[in-house]
Amino acid sequence: MNILNDMRFRAFCYQIGAIGLVAFAAWTMFATASDNLAKQNIATGFGFLARQAGFVISETAIAYQPTDSIARAILVGIVNTVKVSLLAAILGTLLGLFVGVARMSRNPLLARLALAYVEVLRNVPLLLYLFLWYSLIILVFPPVKQALNVLPGVFLSNSGLVLPAVFVESGATILALIVCAGIASAILIWRISRQRRITTGQSNHGAFIACLVLLVPPLLLWGLGGVSFGWDIPQAGRFRLTGGLHVRPEFVALLFGLLLSVSASVAEIVRAGIQAIGPGQWEAAAALGLHRSRVMRLVVLPQALRLIIPPLTNTYLTVFKNSSLAIAIGYPDLVMVSNTVMNQTGQAIETIAIFMGVYLGLSIAISLTMNWYNARVALKER
């Protein structure tokens, strides 16, 4: 038999061919790129990360100075990205739950209003909303010189909201230890109490005790003077406000835009998930004498979650990736910091590789977490 007619041989050839083609393309690109870079006198490699950054970042969740390294600046960008997407995901999910429930309301007016909300958010690009919110903030609030002094120590202007900040003056370590221990023991108590409730069928005071364990020790510590707090009150200077906690308009516009878009998606996902559970489940549970709210919590929601989790994962991945639109309104997220680094050092390939790698890594992390949760709520066939 001719070897060319052998299926396995042909499959082998196809695969070698495909790999060869990709490898050749990659090699050609690599060769041209290093040739071009050498001509432009740009050194390749990640050595530039250790260099001094030299640029200011307007919003830093971790300590950062322009004298820090570029690697540190990129880390600040990563933290900012995670901060805004995490907040948007949490707040957006809560808002979306409300809208989703309103969508299912038996009152046609409320259901239509919720539908209009969802449609208006879903049919207009997110970027347009970001620009709109940002320019509205700039337009509506007065310049910082005439900042509105809403409450003592609270200033509102078009460069953001400035609030008095609380910080721990002394005893931070012991407070952190006690809070961590409190959370751990509260979870333990909660689990034991749930186990006991399931085995004995009687309710107990587990939730109450868990709250006590969580709250009492830190309060006691504070009462006994083991920890003290200080206030950082903002001062109105001639040109700007100093001190306090500064919530910037870029952050607010981005957070607002992202959380609204999350809420629209979540509303639709929740509605579709709950409506997919047949009326028989409601009727059967009602026949057992369960109240509507308990039917929802004990019968419908556990089944609906299975349908809700996979699209919800997609929504969270989307909001995380959409936070990269920050660059359009000047919130210093990972992409914007990387862009600054790129313009300063000219290390385009390395910088883009870094931020794509970070996005890819975090996307995979989100997927894995949600898959783990999905496996937990999945149907357990007995």
């Binding site: 870079l37 207009v124 337009l139 794509m356």
Partner: protein, 364 residues
């Protein structure tokens, strides 16, 4: 039926209680429901009053920037003055009938193509051989006495449509290929495809746009430059292909295994089975989600404004930044842009729902 009723009534059947009509019960059935209804009515009334006041009562219908500055309502003169710029961008002013004609031709062709009864081979050829070349000639010029217009002058709404439509059309075969590769039994090909799809789906579109605009020139041999518009278009095609591949994969998984086996047992080759048996079934199922995807891409093309292309959102924003109108017509500009995006997206959404119904009716 009428007979049984007359027989049954004298047997002591009580008259049914007087029922309130259906709509009344729906809105005011219980105290809670009444409260919700009243609150909703109040909200709708307030929003309506706000919108009406802004659009009509307090609006400025004639005048200039100075008149608008003192008014709290919408500024229609701004729209009237900037409309052509916002829609066509920096396209030469005297030549703007060309993008207008192109836009109308494009939308009319789309409208015809949206009707399932025209879905055949002739339509495909009409697009490839007639519509797209005519659109290109209209936009670029250079022949038939039309003045040439470089792509750097293209902008506004035609550009937005072009980026999303061409993106989808070119990404479709690529995405189908990727989906087939992902379902392939050859491990190396499957891994390459999975790697490509997951990497593209794991990063934001903006990073692929950056790659295409900043990185791609570094990979080109010296002296070769690719048009900026083309680079962004390539980025959108790559991005779209990965998402289309995932949708098509869903369609492929829906085709029963027996269809493949039946095809092979007839002696058809892999490509024949795919082309004649599997893909026609798979693709039909994924048309509605594909329309949904197109809505997303149409909105996502706004991101090209970040890498410096003059799409519709960008022309609107630069109209707002015009020194004469700066800070006066911000809301007007964005509301106009939002209305345009909303109209097209909502239309496509309705169409997607129509298709779903259509397929349920015609194909079980």
């Amino acid at each position: 039926m009428a007979e049984t009723q007359t027989l049954a009534l004298p047997l002591g059947a009580s008259k049914p209680p007087a029922r309130r009509s259906g709509w009344f019960k729906a809105y005011f059935g219980t105290p809670l429901n009444s409260a919700i209804s009243l609150a909703s009515i109040a909200a709708i009334f307030l929003l309506g009053k706000l919108a009406f006041g802004w659009l009509a009562v307090n609006a400025v219908f004639s005048g200039d920037a100075a008149t608008c500055k003192v008014s709290s309502g919408a500024c229609w003169p701004f729209l009237a003055e900037k409309l052509r710029y916002m829609i066509f961008g920096f396209y030469p002013f005297e030549e703007q009938w060309r993008p207008l004609l192109a836009l109308s031709l494009f939308l009319a062709s789309c409208l015809v193509s949206m009707m399932p009864r025209f879905w055949n081979r002739a339509l495909l050829y009409a697009w490839l051989l007639l519509v797209l070349p005519v659109l290109y000639i209209l936009m670029a010029g250079g022949v038939f006495g039309l003045a040439p217009v470089p792509t750097s002058s293209w902008g506004g709404l035609p550009l937005s449509f072009m980026l999303s439509f061409i993106g989808l059309v070119c990404a479709l075969p690529l995405g189908i290929g990727l989906a087939l590769a992902r379902a392939s039994s050859l491990p190396a090909i499957r891994i390459l495809s999975v790697g490509f799809i997951e990497i593209v789906r794991g990063v934001p579109l903006i990073s692929i746009l950056f790659m295409a605009t900043v990185m791609l020139p570094l990979f080109m041999p010296e002296g070769v430059t690719i048009d900026k518009l083309l680079r962004a278009q390539v980025a959108i095609i790559i991005f779209a292909a990965a998402y289309i591949a995932e949708i098509v994969r869903g369609g492929l998984q829906d085709v029963p295994e027996g269809q493949f086996e039946a095809g092979y047992s007839l002696g058809l080759s892999y490509w024949q089975v795919m082309r004649k048996i599997v893909l026609p079934q798979a693709l039909k199922k994924v048309i509605p989600p594909m329309v949904g995807l197109f809505i997303g891409f149409f909105q996502d093309t706004t991101l090209v404004t970040i890498v410096g292309l003059l799409d519709f959102l960008d022309t609107v924003r630069s109209a707002l930044r015009d020194p004469e109108w700066q800070g006066i017509a911000v809301l007007e500009g964005y509301v106009f842009a939002a209305a345009v995006y909303f109209a097209f997206s909502a239309l496509m959404g309705t169409y997607s729902r129509f298709l779903e119904r259509h397929f349920r009716v015609t194909h079980g």
